[in-house]
């Protein structure tokens, strides 16, 4: 067990974190596993269900919901569960959108901007370094500002775009949460990998923290090949924020 797991598991075993499955979602099981490794109960939620079943936080996992038809995330945004997520997010509930989940959050207008095809047009799958720029959100409070972390990244439509005014606002308000480090893998404006809302409870990012939560199954790290568990801190962070809420 890592230090993070021990400290997280102890105080709030009662936290319930929902993971929504849409048709075409791929990473819901990994996200649920990440939630459990962090010490919380993972609650499976179905996109067609209007209730969030009293969960304390919600993860919108990655994948290709509705086959990315129309636009990535565009059809999922209108799922019954998303109305509940929008209401809960406006009330302050922590919501994390990963990859396709980030695309759903932008389509639902919980986060600004949008994603278009990668500038090089190729699907990209790699271990991606990024820098934590905001360590005060519900999902990043156990990171340090300036910390360099590595988690897997895999996408086709991962190029974050927004108009200059919106980008300036995000920068000015400290709402850029993660910036790609070393190489910008998709042409995202200003190397932005993840952002948050004004309140800091809703976070969306293209890379996949849920794939870097367990030694032996994560990206390479200083501890060795596949030893990286930087992603687990997202899930322990949200447990801390629930305790201190």
């Amino acid at each position: 067990m890592t230090v993070a797991q021990e400290t997280a598991a102890a105080p709030i075993t009662g936290a319930r974190i929902g993971v929504i499955t849409f048709p075409g979602t791929l990473d819901d099981r990994d996200a649920a596993r990440a939630v459990r490794l962090a010490g919380a109960e993972a609650v499976s939620l179905w996109h067609g269900d209007e209730s969030l079943h009293d969960v304390d936080a919600v993860v919108l996992p990655g994948g290709f919901s509705y086959g990315d038809y129309l636009r990535a995330g565009a059809i999922s945004r209108f799922a019954p569960a998303m109305s509940a997520v929008v209401d809960a997010a406006k009330g302050g509930m922590p919501v994390l959108g990963i990859c396709n989940g980030f695309q759903v959050l932008t389509e639902a207008h919980l986060l600004p901007g949008s994603m278009v095809k990668n500038d090089h047009l190729h699907f990209v799958c790699r271990e991606q370094a990024m820098v934590v720029e905001n360590a005060h959100t519900a999902w990043t409070n156990e990171f340090r500002r300036g910390q360099r972390i590595t988690v897997p990244l895999k996408n086709q439509d991962g190029q974050f775009v927004a108009d200059e005014r919106t980008l300036d606002e995000l920068e000015g308000e400290g709402r850029v949460v993660f910036r790609y480090d070393g190489w910008n893998p998709n042409g995202s404006r200003r190397d932005i990998a993840g952002i948050t809302n004004e309140r800091g409870n809703v976070v969306g990012l293209m890379p996949h923290p849920e794939h870097a939560v367990e030694p032996g199954f994560g990206p390479a790290s200083q501890e060795g090949p596949r030893a990286g568990t930087d992603g687990l801190t997202f899930f322990t962070s949200v447990l801390s924020s629930l305790v201190h809420a």
Partner: protein, 91 residues
């Protein structure tokens, strides 16, 4: 049967990676006349009756709420295309 055609294009300031790939491929086939390509979407919305002003208004609303994302796309036309007979040019 009536039909409304909605056309959606990427915003001019947004780099259109697909259009860029197409414009790169054209000269390789000898089409050197074209200096730029932008790729958009065409939706054909079918209705059982005639296309009334109300139907057109509903199509405009659908175009801006679901069929396009205003952050990256513009709805460039919403038209009654009931009389239009689509003849494929590659037939």
């Amino acid at each position: 049967m009536g039909r409304v055609v909605v056309e959606v294009m990427p915003k001019p300031e947004i780099l259109d990676p697909q259009g860029k790939a197409v414009v790169g491929a054209l000269p390789r086939l000898g089409f050197t006349q074209f200096s730029g390509v932008r790729q958009g979407k065409r939706f054909e919305l079918e209705v059982d009756g005639e296309v009334t002003p109300e139907i057109l208004a509903a199509a405009r609303e659908a175009a801006t709420t679901l069929l396009s994302n205003p952050v990256i796309e513009d709805v460039v036309s919403v038209t009654d295309a009931s009389a239009e007979v689509a003849e494929p040019v590659n037939a």
